[in-house]
Symmetry: C2
Subunit: 273 residues, 2 copies
């Protein structure tokens, strides 16, 4: 039996791996990649069947690089998964809070733990991601350096937790999208994502949103991103409720796409709770 | 005569300092601060009269931390300034491209120069900001490390430019906001910024935007950010054309604020070109 290969960015112990296992269970083969874009390329090259990328954090907002990739690559959202993000401070076995001078983590790890960190005078050193910071601390094997990462990363890299759950917001959650090569839908799908750009004139975005309001379609989110080399023009990424086989939705999508310069249906999938 | 103190984030040679001098000229005293938030605090404490913070880059989008600070602090946008961002690769005098192993820069410096960087196998090390990376390379004084920063940073820190203008997009521009303690307006002001949150129901954002469309007000930008500890609710930051003393604008603002949970007029200022 061939095992399904699913790609994620980071090293073992990353929050993305947790999202992957939550969605697919533990019978798939998680495949690590260096960057978000590498996951999209692997999907394009068929070396993986699905990819899992973080799209939004409840405290710090959109992961904008991932939004840009959804528009750049010929891939589609086939599902989503939410993971509670709890950060812990960790060092090598035998280290104590008093030993620490330098702390490594992803900038969002610092941002999400800033209330706790403000009580200390540590040097905060931005690093690739939380799990890689834990790996780095293990490899350095010095008592004065620590990492901010997940409990799972501490287990994997044999680190000792010095302070538990240091993130300010205990509801801190990251939403991940599951990407596939094809646009799929079945009757359990209740959320749609699109990306569009509007003509550069007064009221253009409003006229696009009219199609949601007039058909009582519930818009869940709007995110704007620059249009590459054209300064101060934007792509709008919009999430809304619905199934693309529903006639009202079909009609709204058809009308909307006519009002837009650029329009891509990014996916129809089941909303996670 | 007292010299006006204007704060910015970073060290001498930062793009923010360039924006500051472009807006105020060279008769003010630029004051360096460690973080964006420190600039807002200095404004609050009256240790500076104005602050200059980057809000948006034409290639990489919103600087989301700054959006959040505009809502958190009792400060207002009194102007804006745009600076062309050209990144250069620089090392200590005597170093060559062949010597380089590690490159330091802000993650956006890497992101904006990724086409150039993809031709080399250098280790990219994320650092606080571009100017601080240049300072670090000077202090390390090693031929194998380089920084990606501005030409001005190379001059200030005595570094030698190894490759000119390595950013992929030569139209790469950062927009900065000038912050003051008071909401001000005169008849040259033609751009308004607001932040608002809507009730969590279908069509709520649409009904707010209706006030723009019905009054033929040109919306320039919409940006969404999470509402702190309430997952999956958003603040919308909206820029539009107009002067707040104009009757149509006054009425639209009054109606809009009634439809919102939270509403703050962030400023009325002159649009930069």
């Amino acid at each position: 039996m061939t095992v399904l290969k699913v790609g994620f960015q980071g090293v073992k112990g990353a929050y993305s791996e947790e999202a992957l296992i939550q969605f697919f269970g533990d019978t798939v083969e998680p495949v690590t990649h260096k960057t978000f874009e590498d996951v999209c390329k692997a999907l394009e090259d068929d070396t993986i069947t699905y990819g899992v990328l973080p799209i939004e954090n409840s405290s710090t907002g959109a992961i904008t690089d991932v939004y840009d990739l959804l528009n750049k690559y010929d891939c589609y959202i086939v599902g989503e998964s939410r993971v509670k993000v709890n950060h812990h401070l960790m060092g090598i076995p035998g280290s104590t809070i008093e030993d620490i001078k330098d702390v490594y983590s992803h900038p969002q790890g610092f941002e999400q733990s800033k209330d706790y960190l403000s009580g200390y005078n540590w040097k905060l050193i931005p690093y690739y991601n939380t799990a890689k910071s834990a790996e780095y601390v293990m490899n350095q094997n010095k008592k004065q350096i620590a990492a901010i990462a997940s409990k799972k990363a501490a287990q994997i890299y044999g680190l000792h937790i010095l302070a538990n759950q240091i993130n300010s917001n205990h509801q801190n959650t990251t939403r991940f999208v599951i990407l596939g090569k094809n646009l799929t839908s079945d009757n359990t799908c209740n959320k749609i994502s699109v990306v569009l750009s509007t003509p550069h004139k007064a009221g253009a975005l409003y006229h696009v949103l009219k199609h949601f309001a007039e058909n009582d379609i519930n818009m869940l989110k709007i995110e704007s991103r620059p249009v590459g080399h054209t300064p101060w023009e934007y792509y709008f990424y919009i999430d809304f409720e619905g199934n693309m086989n529903d006639t009202i939705i079909k009609d709204a999508l058809a009308h909307m796409s006519k009002d837009c310069h650029h329009f891509k249906l990014l996916g129809n999938y089941k909303k996670s709770n």
